[in-house]
Symmetry: none
Subunit: 212 residues, 4 copies
């Protein structure tokens, strides 16, 4: 290929949350990162576009060639974050052989992601109510795919006799909930090592699953 065509926000028609151009220019990415920090720190509603621009040394209007509205920024962040989570846990699953190993690996990946990438994690777990209905639906697609990964591992483990949860869907709920809530409190004096936390939480999750 001789030249890459310039990328534009919103070029792809909004049909699936799994592929969607989120703004691939360098400037767009910087804006997304800055917005992420501010949204995480104050909440979407209290965050201001001025502050996002200021964080980058830009003027308030400079965001708008890249993202048409504040909500479009939130959406870009949300979609990217959700896809990243899905990629990370899918990779973790694919690197493990048995359901037990898969459950451990995916839990570790999930918890670590929420501990390491706190800003984006907070945004995608707590600011989705500010999305438009259409954008929310696209994000929900990706969320469902993520949940399905855990559901499938648990089901496989149950079928193989490796797991014995009281109720499998509730186990999925509990384990994702544990991981998600990490964004609210991590780090504390007691838990500031993401790796260690992920290991401990994986043990807890195996208990919840009733792993032998």
């Amino acid at each position: 290929m001789l030249s890459t065509p310039p990328e534009r926000t919103e070029r792809t028609p909004p049909t699936s949350g799994l592929d969607y151009d989120v703004g691939s220019s360098k400037a767009a990415a910087r804006i997304r990162d800055a917005a992420c920090e501010v949204f995480a720190a104050k909440g979407y509603g209290a965050a201001t576009t001025r502050e996002i621009a200021a964080e980058l040394g830009m003027s308030p209007g400079a965001v708008y060639p890249h993202y048409k509205t504040k909500e479009a920024l939130l959406f870009a962040i949300a979609i990217e974050g959700h896809r990243n989570v899905l990629d990370v846990i899918s990779a973790a699953r694919d690197g493990a052989a048995t359901p037990t190993e898969q459950l451990r690996a995916t839990t570790i990946a999930f918890v670590r992601w929420h501990a390491d990438r706190r800003a984006i994690a907070r945004v995608i777990q707590h600011e989705l109510r500010s999305l438009s209905d259409d954008h929310f639906a696209l994000v929900a697609d990706v969320r469902r795919a993520t949940t399905a990964v855990f559901d499938d591992i648990l089901a496989a483990g149950v079928a193989a006799g490796a797991f014995a949860p009281d109720d499998a869907p509730t186990a999925t709920l509990a384990l994702t909930s544990l991981g998600i809530d990490v964004t609210r409190w991590f780090p504390t004096k007691q838990h500031s090592d993401a790796d260690a936390l992920a290991q401990q939480y994986a043990d807890i999750v195996l208990r919840i699953a009733g792993a032998r």
Copy 2:
């Protein structure tokens, strides 16, 4: 006494979060409730005092005789909510004899509180960053007392040989985290019965604790 003097926020000097006048007049309580709904629905930052007043059929200025600022309202809600949680789980603990029964009872109470009183739960679990430092400190007092209840039960159970968690503080963290995160998602199609959910979560928590 012929008339009760009007109640004001900030009358009590802010020394302990455990006793604090939060606005005891009927109007103050109505305002608190309305604010709670709005804060929960949109987040503190995006909520407007006008909307709170409108919800009550009041004019925008009518909130101010009762609460001097929007933040004072948040604080009143936060303190009241935290004290209520503490009361509820303390009562649950006092009604049970063994650590195992206590852990089950307090977990059920904790989960139910977050499922039943969703609006206030959401506010006290996700909007505290908007408190002033002083107010936050007062709220943190009560939070610590709540955590201590679970810590003590787990410690007693371990001492009695009833529990065998991998790590007791992490078990407390996980169980409170599970309860708190209920405010984010409850209800769903799968879980819309707070009672049933509380029972299932109690079973999970006993697994986490390694109850015999």
Copy 3:
């Protein structure tokens, strides 16, 4: 009547342009007048709410308790202006006996209104494209009623043998057009006396009508 209830903008449901509460408080009227001047001087699109407020020594936000949007202000002005024109020419017609006298009297009233009340005249004749569709429709109701007054007088004159226009509807068009265009140019060095102009234009209109 013991007390007048407070008036609100937009209270009346928007069903007919002929009755419509346009903001009857004193402050609303002052804002309308100031807006009128600014809209006339710069055009609606180039006029700023800041400038309107500044003209009254108010802060920019002070307009909004009275008019929810800049367009609402334009609508209030437009409706009021159109109703005023209709009232003025209706009164002129009612004060005259024969079609000839009526045509002279209404023309004089129409021309004088556009010359005397230049600011509002300019707004209602040249800024209507900025109205919302709904608001435009309400204004159009009143415009039609105004045109009908002239149409009826001409028809009556023709029936009575007093007028002999080439084409009656075109005569109405021409005479209203002459009056309306006064807002564009009046005053000039040559024509700065509204009364004199109105008399001269009435003579011209009688020629157009082919009055005997």
Copy 4:
């Protein structure tokens, strides 16, 4: 000639409105046309350079090599439009022999121009207030020349005993006013044929002039 040097606005020093380079490149002409449409549709104040560029499939900056400012564009349009009117009615006059025929011919040309070239007509009749003082003065030169054409015809007709207006300058005013106002309303359901309208208006104008 190998290459034409690029044309620039403002090359000619602004001394007379009657000769003035208005941007003679093809691109400049296309921009002028697009701007004309947008200015006519929304008013100069509400029109945006972006929209003008978009109408041509150009980027926002692409206008500036051709016209240094938005106001320069307005001026180019205004001058060109005024000169075109003058040319058109001068030609009409020159093609007719008697004052009566001349008055009829120029009126028809004037009315038709305003009906046919509605966009530019609207701009030159209603957006001049947005010109700089210098530019306005240049435009005014051309306007005066146009008025003089009608004044001269009327004067000649009066001298020849062909016309008997109440007041000749007022007749000029009325007839130009009728023509100009066509830009505001044409077309309507009743009048959508520019030719027919021009004929009817010419008859009216002859009545105003008191033509025998």
